[in-house]
Symmetry: none
Subunit: 252 residues, 2 copies
């Protein structure tokens, strides 16, 4: 990855998330902390961002204020997304679901990652435009507007034509006995089909979803490879999932 490109990406991240941790960025890009620090220092010198201890904030504080507030609201989802993104290996083919948590997965993929992403979400597809080395395959079909994903026969048919190494699935309910559930039957069917076309299925479980169940079952709990949970998930819920023999990945 070119240096200039990396710096542009840093500013991008900052605009999007409203904040940025130097150390984490270094780990994500597999570079030394010093290099990132140097980048931040120089971008700060150019007035493109505001340097703070441990990371950076946007140059204009007004925008920062708003973005940070929004960011704080979804801190859990961000962490889950980051943990999920770390599971993607270069060269793999992965399926990414629709939804805000899945969007966080995309945002934490290394910018120069070479991989193939399959998605039935136009939002996710648009988001991936800024990753030059990721090949994107969009699953067509009827647009289900509530979640902004494609559904229906056409989608299912297309899904049967693909295979992937991993599927990052968003759901609305993660319940020890009710399994993984969502609010729409069509959507459940599509998620199920995607899961069956993938070697591994990782569930993106931000805290508000754990312990709840929605009307339609996607897959039983044991069919998931692992559930990615926030580190702040209450112990009671964690224990309940453990009892079902589900593998858990804690996102910090």
């Amino acid at each position: 990855m070119l240096t200039a490109q990396r710096r542009a990406w840093i500013l991008d991240v900052l605009r999007r998330d409203g904040q940025l941790v130097a150390k984490r960025l270094a780990a994500q890009l597999d570079l030394s902390d010093d290099t990132i620090r140097r980048d931040l220092r120089e971008l700060a010198a150019e007035g493109k961002l505001q340097r703070v201890h441990g990371g950076a904030l946007p140059a204009s504080p007004a925008i920062a204020d708003f973005s940070v507030r929004r960011h704080v609201a979804t801190e859990g989802k961000t962490a889950v997304g980051r943990a999920a993104a770390a599971l993607v290996q270069p060269g793999q083919t992965v399926i990414i679901d629709g939804g805000t948590t899945a969007q966080q997965v995309v945002r934490h993929l290394p910018p120069d990652l070479g991989a193939t992403v399959i998605t039935h979400s136009p939002t996710i597809a648009c988001e991936l435009v800024s990753h030059p080395s990721i090949e994107v395959l969009v699953i067509g079909g009827r647009l289900f507007k509530h979640s902004i994903v494609t559904c229906g026969a056409i989608a299912i048919e297309s899904i049967l034509q693909v295979s992937a190494d991993a599927f990052f699935m968003g759901v609305t309910g993660v319940h020890a006995t009710a399994g993984l559930t969502t609010g729409d039957a069509e959507e459940a069917a599509v998620k199920r089909a995607l899961s069956h076309r993938s070697a591994e299925t990782y569930v993106l479980a931000s805290s508000e979803k754990i312990g709840t169940a929605s009307p339609f079952t996607v897959i039983p709990m044991h069919e998931a490879t692992a559930v990615i949970i926030e580190s702040s998930t209450p112990d009671v819920q964690v224990a309940a999932l453990r009892r079902e023999g589900v593998e858990l990945i804690r996102a910090d």
Copy 2:
């Protein structure tokens, strides 16, 4: 390979990939690093690209390019979009192309219009979420990141399964004799396929496109039902199109 040819190719690669590593390019073309560096240096001097340590980036980054273009929807594009939207009758099935002008078409559709929209653009699909009575069908396929539309065999295959009353087509060149053209061969093929599946084809021709031609022909001029032009289009251009027997719709 001729030098001029090589330089054109370099710009092509850059447009496609959004980045370029000097060393890799040299190896690929079996030339010394110096030669490539010289090319890059001189292209940068001409303002055709942005030179950075290790390689080059587009003069105006593709993504920034798109988002800027999106925000700077000129008055002309808005007018063309409004005129196009007025052609859609309730109950019809229409195909809407990708691009900024097409986006304006969507923005001017009546919010309660009952219709079916087929699109190969994730951007357009997202935009249509706010129209509750429009049924949206997304064409899947490989994502072509430059224009943010799906392309390739999968897209073509899906397109052959649908039919529509009208296709609102965006192009980059509208020329009396060269016809309707665009900058990418794949994209041209997809647009052509969409046009052939539709009873009517309306061309969205904001003023900067008229009188210009891009490398790849989509369809000859006479295959278009009508070309929607800005009212401010120079008379010379209008006359040239009239001579070809094209129907023109003026957008005010």
